[in-house]
Amino acid sequence: GPAAWGADEPVRVAVAANFKQTMDRLAADFSKRTGELAPIVSSGASGLLYSQIVQGAPFDVFFSADQDRPVRLEQDGLVVPGSRYTYAVGKLAIWRPGRTWSGTLEQALKAPDVKVVSIANPAVAPYGVAAQQVLEKLGLWAKPPFRVVQGESLGQAFQFVATGNAQLGFIALSQVKEAMSAAEGTIANEVLEIDSRLYAPLAQDAVRLKRSAGKAAVGRFLDFVRSPEGRAMIAAAGYAQDP
């Protein structure tokens, strides 16, 4: 029942799937430093989290993968006014397993053995939109010399490459670190970060939800995420900060 979010309740965080691991680390670190309860982290696609929040999901803060959904929540009046801010800006990269990087992005994409390229679904994932923009800029979107397969999420776009079904994939730079931490071995030298001018900034916004009112720990957690320590952890995960 509603009594469940009393004062000594842990902070409940809804986070876009691509930021989940970073959030897990932030939460653990927060708890270790402050001695407070570790926040409970629920992840999902941003659009689904949005629907759940509208329907009263018990989340205190929402870390979206884009700016659109937090804005919508603001308009819906579910957000503590003034709490929206950009907590990270994503970096797009391409991953070409099996070879140490050389040459340009364009060369890589036009290599004859690149038959399948995976991206996140532009319809649902901001990174997909960014990938589409890159391909458009390079004139490879309308009639690509390869097949474009779309993952429902960044994770799936990554898996298509990881399983060898795509020779090249557009991923988030943050996934490189994740893959390393997940003992996939380092793939850092198989990855090329894409010039951020080729795509619109991947700003990811967070909001504090109104229902967290009166729960002081929420403010402390958000402060921690915004603190230099928190920002350092986000940067280390492969994100830029708000420009």
């Binding site: 029942g1 989940k20 018990p58």
Partner: protein, 224 residues
């Protein structure tokens, strides 16, 4: 974070699958019996209706259920008067799973119920058994394999279910984060070893449970 060792999602999944299977058997049995043996002319409409939950993608079904049962949904408001939250709780998972696996219980049961020999039901009636008594003393024992099938499908389908549960439950660790979501998360987070371990465990565990169930059932059949 070493989620591979966190057994909460597994326990939650098993509890959810068991509760769902039991509720589905309780709800699905009379429905299937009515479909199989009833005389109403509109049965075919209900037969079609029962299948509809699975033609929608689970996440989308979950989305609509969320609209219906959520804080702003018509049913959600009603229940919140009773201080019961239907979504983002175990209750929500159960409701979603029950709806989503309904056809997999109703159809196999209906199939075997149709084959209960009418002569045996009539014999039971002339021997003094009323409709309910006939159902339990004749139809149920003659349909055990159907119950097993229905239960197994409901249990397994609920174990693997993901979209509805994610939507209605909210992926809250320790509360609504079931095993399927946990595995999904691991895959999504590229934590493959953890995903493999959990998947293998789930598959092996399910296999053993199912094999034991079927083996026991085949023994029972041979014995009676």
């Amino acid at each position: 974070m070493n989620a591979a060792l966190d057994l909460t999602p597994l326990a939650l999944s098993l509890r959810l699958a068991a509760v769902t299977a039991v509720i589905l058997l309780i709800l699905g049995t009379p429905l299937a019996w009515w479909l199989a043996q009833g005389r109403s002319r509109v049965r075919f409409l209900v037969e079609a209706l029962v299948v509809l939950p699975v033609v929608l993608p689970p996440t989308v079904l979950g989305f609509y259920l969320l609209q219906l049962l959520g804080a702003n949904g018509p049913l959600g408001r009603l229940w919140s008067l009773l201080d019961v939250r239907l979504v983002f709780s175990f209750t929500g998972l159960v409701i979603g799973s029950v709806i989503f696996s309904l056809p997999f219980v109703v159809y196999p049961l209906k199939g075997v119920f149709e084959k209960v020999p009418r002569a045996q039901l009539e014999a039971a009636a002339t021997l003094g058994a009323g409709p309910l008594d006939r159902f339990f003393s004749v139809a149920v024992p003659a349909s055990l394999s159907g119950f097993l099938a229905a239960g197994v499908l409901a249990f397994a389908h609920t174990l693997g279910e993901f979209g509805v549960v994610l939507m209605l439950g909210g992926n809250i660790p320790g509360e609504t984060q079931v095993l399927s979501i946990a595995i999904y998360n691991h895959v999504e987070q590229l934590q493959y070893p953890a995903a493999h371990a959990l998947s293998a465990g789930l598959v092996a565990f399910s296999f053993v449970v199912l094999a034991v169930l079927h083996f026991t059932h085949s023994r029972t059949k041979a014995a009676t």
